[in-house]
Symmetry: D4
Subunit: 244 residues, 8 copies
């Protein structure tokens, strides 16, 4: 709906190349498909740089499958997060993959990988969310390197990742509990850092709120934070930045 398009349509009407009815349809036609319970937004990829992705948690298996098939049919691309093997089995889409660590289903992954996203995670319990981010960014076409279990209790582990930190374009840091890893990493580099708090922990971890707030309060300037357990969002953003 940007102005150049409107201008072109108007020019075409003016010149008689386009009649009013068709011009109207062009202006009004919105590229989504109506499944009655879900409007699938087939042009989102063009608009937002990310195809319509299905968040499976809390949705009915049959609904997820129905939406997924419609999306895949049109775009030959598919990404489902927080999914189960049951959904995967019901999909019956050739070349679709189920990533068990993260519960992501993907099909039509971008083959050519570009740039370099580094993904660091603090503990073994943070791996599912880290994997969700890694699978997402890779699916969209970014080269992703993952290094897990480098929390602040053993700073020496982190030091070994120095070379990877230096060569990355963007860094995703996934951590639960006290959420301190992004600050320490941020103190070592001038790369953009995306911090993802996880719900790992108990008691006053408050299901990830403590890690989230700690990351938002980082004493290192310029760390951006995602919602708790939102590996998918971090993967999207890192890919967008990596694509610049």
């Amino acid at each position: 709906m940007d102005s150049s398009k409107i201008r072109k349509i108007l020019e075409s009407v003016k010149s008689g190349n386009l009649n009013v009815d068709n011009a109207f349809k062009n202006l009004k036609h919105l590229p989504y498909e109506d499944l009655s319970f879900a409007k699938i937004d087939h042009h989102r990829d063009i608009r937002q740089g990310i195809p319509e992705v299905i968040f499976a948690e809390g949705k009915k298996v049959e609904d997820v499958i129905c939406i997924a098939k419609s999306i895949f049919k049109r775009s030959k691309k598919l990404l489902i997060t927080k999914a189960s093997r049951e959904i995967y089995d019901g999909l019956k889409i050739k070349n679709a993959f189920f990533h068990p660590l993260s519960g992501v289903i993907s099909a039509g992954e971008e083959k050519k990988k570009k740039g370099h996203i580094l993904l660091l995670s603090a503990g073994t319990s943070d791996i599912p969310i880290a994997e969700e981010a890694a699978v997402t960014a890779s699916f969209l076409g970014s080269r992703v390197e993952t290094i897990y279990d480098v929390g602040v209790a053993g700073i020496h582990r982190l030091m070994d990742t120095r070379k990877s930190i230096d060569s990355a374009r963007v860094i995703i840091v996934v951590a639960g509990m006290e959420g301190a890893l992004p600050s320490v990493v941020g103190g070592l580099t001038d790369k953009p850092i995306i911090a993802v708090p996880t719900s790992t922990g108990y008691g006053t971890s408050l299901n990830g709120l403590t890690a989230l707030f700690a990351m938002l309060n980082s004493c290192v300037p310029g760390i951006a934070v995602m919602n708790i357990d939102n590996g998918f969002g971090a993967g999207c953003l890192a890919h967008k930045i990596n694509s610049l």
Copy 2:
């Protein structure tokens, strides 16, 4: 402290070009200055891409001035956020500027501006935080365009910013109250978006927590969020991304 440097120092020791004491100093020397109450980190610029910046709120005026002078003397660069005119007057640094809307003091601003950061803000009350982000990113060397008062209650205002959105490399969106603007902007573009919640509002705005949480829950994938009122951090991150 990266491995190539250590190797070089070791080689020099081996070759006799460097004696043990000096090698030790080289390995150990840390480039910060000790003011007893504050260790100024003069090499942060190299390490993190952002010079040591002073957050003035809650600090004594005389302490801020003392730290500021030490930083400026070494680096010829200075950035103080949440500052007052009283601090500015006490500094007596030639070519330092006081930005009254945001309360930022700057000196030694990068003259050459590159890239394009777009800064959108929702209401007039969000301008101080938006300005803090703009001044910061500009100081660091990014070209910044600001468009204010384009909140979701008047979607048509936002539509006029379309061209700016399309030409920007990174977009900062500043909003208080219900914090809905980043979602709407995010639906229109594939650029990385940095959302900054402000403490604007009353009652259940909870001093910005509501805007923060709304932004973290955006239905648009890939929006990163900063701490409440943290315009400075957004400016840093946007500049880092813009510099890629």
Copy 3:
């Protein structure tokens, strides 16, 4: 217990048409039935415009059935929310319906529909709550139009609903996550808007508190908000307004 009734009773006592005992009973008699564990309020419909409705969640199946039968017997009307098919099967009331999407059971629905309530929902996960509102308002006698999956991430989807927005008398907007839809809709219309936050989301959605607070902080004046997931209440209020 309004004054005209009291006056009439007093006049009848005066005139001898009513003896003291009966007058007393008239003044004291309260139109509810005592099931020992539940006082059913058969006159609520007259008083509040809404018949006594059963909120089934957390109640025992047999208790719900017992209360439901007593209500239906007297009023030939029945509405049960957050119900299960098990309750429906146990009811054995002819012409009762089970609405599976919303978990509502209804019987004696008002046949004549009047006015026009528009119901917009942001995502597919919000449909159960939206349906609860729609079924409720329709049951009470309002004409209801529903348009689902028109969230702010795809503003263009919302634009297609313009005609419906313009012709409605009241608009219910159901949304979870960042709860931004009511603000955007509110910017487009002068109709009363009832916003219903849902518990859709994760992490800092805080089971719907974030959507609730965002809606309460809407920058558009005059949006009223219901409790989280309270589709029933929204349906009642919309019907009351639609009936003016």
Copy 4:
């Protein structure tokens, strides 16, 4: 931007009555005025039924006055909430009024009052918020009746308001502390009720959150709730409903 308008413009282009440049301007022209720090939305009245209103709290006095003058000049209407006498004195607009109880400034109030909004408040401390609602609704053109200090601790006081309750079209109930008044009023009437929690109270009143949550949890179906202390919003919504 609705479809009939687009069609008309297209027809005019087709017929040659409108050239492309002007058609483009027509499609693009947005009726707001740019004061650089605030975009005043002069057509909001048409679009949302409420003129652009200024929320003065937290804004600079000179900014409020500047915005206010611009609004008044174009629309001859003005409403400023949470204002001070200092702003009023600076405005120098003839026929503007300062309402000291509520801190509202108004000019160009709708003379003809229609319908009937009843405003009930629980305690004397709730009066400023109640007055803000009353002044707002009256300004917009609704007839408003106010009855104050009828809290639930003295149910008999409330009973005297029965006649007003019965004749009103909409009822606004303002209460702080335990926020119980809307439930009791709601048990007595079938009119739409708008509940406004106030920050009156101490300790666990949590600055109005307790009243807010209590109102959202009312056992009476169909009570809508506004943000804490948001008398203005309640006045707008009540007027919209009253205008149906």
Copy 5:
């Protein structure tokens, strides 16, 4: 350990009626039994007026049974709250009762009932907690009258309880959701009122916190509040007051 006892023991030592070792034992002997995992406090009844009561929730069935048997053996009295039929079946104590509505097990209930405690509850979902209070107070020896389902949405139901309110010595009011009932009852009587919030409700009922806070903020002076769902505590306190 009160001073008169110490004096007596000292006198006995002085007079030679008690030797030092026995005096020491007397001073030191504490009347509890050590089950290694639980110290049963057999003299609590004398000290606090309430026998040692077992809170079964979260304890292992076999532990509850073991503690219960030890208590019953010594005191011939037994009260277990939040219990299950499984515990009851395992106890095999003759004359023990299982109260299914409240999940209380009792044995050795005080036969003689005295005074008058009135127990009012707002909705049918509040009955389990109300019953817990009623069973407890009755067990301890108070006469208890219960009237259920008299919430504020139907003030007329409450009016019928007037006579009971007037004749009671203490009133327990149990309510969930907005927790408004204690305020309304408190406006009608000069009796001490004990308010018990329940976790009935959803969304912003916050598992009973809203009802709790509303009750603590009651505009009626002198209402005391118990923990959420703490019917047992209310029963104890009401009995203590009723016993004065």
Copy 6:
């Protein structure tokens, strides 16, 4: 409005001793005085056992004085809490007292004191709230004994109060910080205990919420809790219990 009164009025109408108009007035007449901004409830004393008391905090000085004079004129009794000396000076009521520790103003205090209320407070900072409770209960006619600064950090101090604990009818325990005192006192006595949390403390005392929650969770059964800093309410309740 109790049934015997209604019966009597009806009998009088029947017998002709009362005409319909007067009967109506009798039924309807409510004993409050309308000051327009405050309805003073002169019969509250009869109904609730507590005269209408003014909570001065957040009210305008002149309003407090106006309400106070109206109340005193009719009832010759006056109690104002959270008051200032400025209010006291403006009142000019002979025989009124200002209690500086608690900020209470009283006039017409009950001369005859009966029963025995014991008031214990944990720290010196809790004294203002404790005094508010003491002054209130004494004003209403209870004999009050106060013992201050007997917190749990020095259990031995508390032991000295044993005799007072044994002779009291009701015990008020005022404590801030961790709010542990009521539990320890409750372990020593079978008297009803009213716990008042204060906002004393810092950090995680959360302005009294921690003390409040600790008291609600007391492991001693039958402790009732008031709102934070609500000494007045505790005094009322203790007096009601003491009066049984």
Copy 7:
């Protein structure tokens, strides 16, 4: 990586005893083992005084077993907390023990016990957490004495522990609900006290937050607090202090 080590390595390079490559490896070699999903930190024992311990909750059984075997193989020591018998059965490590009360698995426990840690717990429900602390401290080599069920409701029970309190070097106090025990114990001794809040309780116990906050607000100076239910951490710290 301390300076003396670096010096030694540099001296060896200088003297030719160490070539550059080996020196580099020495400086860089970090003593952890990479299992790809978990970096086991075999030298943590030396660095932090506590071996790498596995927190089993939320981890997959097979992952826990795999990590456990790797740790045990190298260090002949093993501690797993929040474990299940299923993990224990899968481990098949001779001389490993499963502590059912606390869910701890241990192997290679320190045989020689030194010092004296006293562990007090308030209620029977707090025993699992208390046992976790006791098993941990004992495993690390501290002599631990445990006394359970000495809550503040029966202060006399606590008095019997006086001798143990006097002879201990460190005291761990475990309590849920109102968390008052640490304050009372702290009032009796000059020993360091470590307080552990448990999630025991309901309603406003807020899953242990109330006990946590109460302990942090203790009126006794010098009580340190652990995370909710963190018996393991308390055991570690008590052992570190006991080892001084």
Copy 8:
């Protein structure tokens, strides 16, 4: 009140060396002084290892001075925290010191310093709380070393403190914002660590709650946490541990 003392008193009574009245007094005498508004606990030093310390915040200046003088007169020791110079000036105690950074007043400080407490703080804003801890521990007789401004954003600064870390017996770590420093320090040492969160920060620092929760969730085992801004408590505990 320990058993040996009781035995001795009983023996003396037996032997006639002590008459009953004096024995009673001995058993009952509690070593505190009653100032009516404050019971000063002169023996606390013996019992708890810490003299009675005055927390001045929120207390009246004259009360603080009166209590302080009474304490100093008896014990020749004095410690007042969160004090002002105004209090200091009013005290007129020779050899009393006012520590302006921390607002502590001390007199009778222990001259002999023993052991070694290391105090690390993250930022310059944390210094007042760090100083309060340092002054307290030093006052009690511990040798204290302080190193400030070694936050995690510059890990290299921390590395220089290695030698101090290794030689300390106890380490206090003071940090605000994300509170990450204790975890990083804890990863480097086996010494007991006491973490003190400060209220430094803004937005989601939530006045120190975020730092507090982050510290409680540290991935390093055995870090104990104090209340927000409780430097005094940390000083006490560190001294107790240092004294072992």
